[in-house]
């Protein structure tokens, strides 16, 4: 039984990407998805429950995360003979499940791909996501879903903290980038809760920041700053990608300087001898 469910998104590029994805998925591109697709109980209850979560977990997650989330250290054939390996989910709590399922980073198409922007698609329904979160939370005593409060936080503190802890990889305006061996996702149009969760998890190659290093108050400030980058205040009128001094310098040198040279040549006159 194959069924794909998606959350509706408003922007056109996303819609196009989504359509392409659906088309590819319908064409049965086995590499992009676990071969069996999302496995669901034939009669699915309409209210979220740990029991439903356990069933979904066993069908869709266990070939990498192990029986009851015990983890698989080295790759071994799982469902559909696809090699599976993944970290233990004991004590990761509702926080991690909420992050990975709602960003669409999980389930991962291949264990060798980065759970990141390229995997971004939500394959479970809201009911299923809630059930899985309840189930994963029941696997140990992990952290709950954080509740950042950007409303009462300080934007300037947030910028300063973001500069210290995050801007190295995510760039000053949160536009993302690269680190050797991994892709750094941009942070625009990400809900506040996802940002807070990522800081506490440290997905893929990202460092993990504990409350000792970034307090919950500081985290709210960081979230406020990241949300502010959705609509940055472009004083000059042209954002140039909000990437900072390098594109700005390129514009100055490759557009400004030639314009100046051309106008110098137009205004002046070459002296003939």
């Amino acid at each position: 039984m194959m069924r794909f469910t998606h959350r509706a998104r408003s922007s056109l590029p996303r819609a196009v990407a989504l359509l392409t994805f659906v088309a590819l998925a319908a064409a049965g591109v086995a590499q992009a998805q676990p071969q069996s697709g999302i496995v669901r109980p034939t009669t699915e209850p309409s209210t979220p429950s740990v029991a439903l979560g356990a069933q979904l977990f066993a069908g869709n997650c266990a070939s990498c995360h192990g029986i009851a989330g015990s983890g698989i250290k080295s790759p071994r054939p799982g469902a559909g003979d696809i090699p599976g390996a993944g970290p233990s989910l004991h004590n990761v709590g509702a926080l991690a499940a909420d992050f990975y399922l709602r960003t669409g980073y999980m389930p991962l198409g291949s264990i060798h791909s980065q759970p990141g922007p390229e995997q971004e698609r939500v394959l479970f329904s809201e009911n299923e996501v809630r059930s899985l979160i309840q189930y994963v939370a029941s696997l140990g005593s992990g952290p709950a879903i954080p509740r950042p409060d950007p409303g009462s936080a300080s934007l300037s503190d947030g910028q300063s903290l973001f500069l210290t802890h995050c801007a190295g990889c995510h760039q000053i305006e949160g536009r993302g980038g690269f680190v050797t061996g991994a892709e750094v996702p941009p942070l625009q149009n990400v809900p506040a809760t996802r940002i807070a969760e990522a800081v506490r998890i440290g997905p893929y190659e990202m460092p993990r920041f504990s409350t000792r290093q970034i307090s919950n108050t500081d985290l709210s400030s960081i979230v406020k700053y990241v949300l502010s980058t959705n609509r940055p205040d472009n004083r000059g009128g042209w954002s140039i990608g909000n990437l900072g001094p390098i594109p700005e310098g390129l514009v100055a040198w490759w557009i400004g300087a030639p314009l100046l040279i051309i106008s110098c040549r137009m205004v002046g006159r070459r002296r003939r001898r």
Binding site: Q114, T164, G168, T180, G181, I201, G202, E205, Q213
Partner: protein, 341 residues
């Protein structure tokens, strides 16, 4: 007067000037220049009237005025928050651009120019000889000519040396010691960016910290260190550094050995079995250092490992340096590679 009245006045004045009767001269012929008194010969040849260029100037100036007025309108509107401020810049910029264009057209197509060049006068051999003789005879009172000349040369040399002395401040010329000196020494506590001493037990795995020497200048190239904690069992530090990482806590210079950028990226895999291993990465050119093996270079343009700072944990639990760096801190200079201090 209102701005539009000024504009009308300007245009009327320009129209009247254009209507004024002018001379019959239409060619570049000097003799036919009618506006100049006939008794005097013209210096600048009379150019042909160019009404099209004049019209262009008028259009450009008119457009410039419109943009200037647009600036006023935008400014008025912007105060009430109705229009974006970029329009102000566009108005002012376009106004100046049009004025510049008008001036360029005036200079290049309307003003007739004439270049005047005088020939350099020919040399007079007799005069030259006279000057040579004057110089020769003017030195008749000197008795110790050579000594005086030498004294002059010595003074000039001394003054030249004095002028060059400040160059020494640019960099160490003989004494390269400052390049090896850092604020770190045995027993110095590691503090965070706010100056609070770091407690060894508080250093978490999976994350990274920036540390500084207590009481030293944070801006010093040798001051900042990246602090991380790794599994002590997996460390493969170079020989002789066995006790440099108490409890797996490591400190490396935060200054990249390639171009001196700050190591701001720390790669920390969530699931090490499948994901790229821990690394310190420089954001400028992606030099990548392996913290398990003494920050050896695994990728990128850096030529040598990050210098490691030996650490110890004091009896009070604070993180302290137990010596100085393993190598020179800072970017590559004079092709320094792998050179121990």
């Amino acid at each position: 007067m209102k701005p539009w009245q000024w504009l009308v006045a300007l245009l009327t004045m320009l129209r009247r000037r254009a209507r004024r009767p002018r001379g019959g001269g239409s060619g570049p012929d000097i003799a036919s220049g009618a506006t100049a008194p006939p008794s005097r010969e013209r210096i600048v040849p009379a150019g042909a009237p160019d009404r099209r260029a004049e019209n262009l100037v008028l259009v450009l100036l008119g457009t410039a005025s419109l943009f200037a007025l647009g600036f006023i309108v935008v400014y008025d509107q912007f105060s009430s928050g109705a229009l974006p401020d970029q329009l102000l810049g566009i108005c002012l910029g376009m106004c100046l651009l049009c004025i510049g264009g008008a001036l360029t057209v005036v200079a290049k197509r309307l003003v007739v120019t004439e270049e005047l060049e005088d020939d350099y006068p020919e040399a007079d051999p007799e005069q030259q000889q006279e000057i040579v003789e004057m110089i020769h005879e003017g030195g008749s009172r000197f008795t110790r000519k050579r000594l005086l000349l030498g004294a002059g040369a010595a003074t000039g040399g001394a003054l030249g040396l004095a002028a060059m002395t400040p160059l020494v401040s640019i960099g160490p010329l003989w004494d390269t010691g400052p390049l090896d000196r850092t604020p770190w020494h045995r027993g110095l506590r590691v503090v965070d960016e706010h100056g609070a001493p770091m407690v060894a037990a508080d250093v978490d795995m999976q994350t990274f910290y920036t540390g500084f020497p207590e009481g030293a200048n944070m801006e010093d190239l040798g001051a900042p260190v990246v602090i991380i904690r790794l599994d002590p069992a997996k460390l493969e530090l170079p020989a002789g550094r066995e006790d440099w990482a108490p409890g797996g806590i490591l400190a490396y210079s935060k200054i990249c050995t390639h171009a001196g950028c700050a190591i701001g990226l720390y790669r920390n895999p969530l699931f090490p079995a499948l994901e790229p291993n821990n690394a310190l990465v420089c954001p400028c050119h992606y030099s990548t250092f392996d913290p398990y093996t003494g920050a050896s270079v695994i990728y990128g343009p850096a030529g040598r490992p990050l210098p490691q700072l030996p650490l110890m944990i004091g009896t009070d639990g604070y993180l302290r340096a137990s010596g100085n760096f393993s190598g020179r801190v800072g970017p590559a200079w004079w092709a320094v590679r792998e050179q121990p201090t």
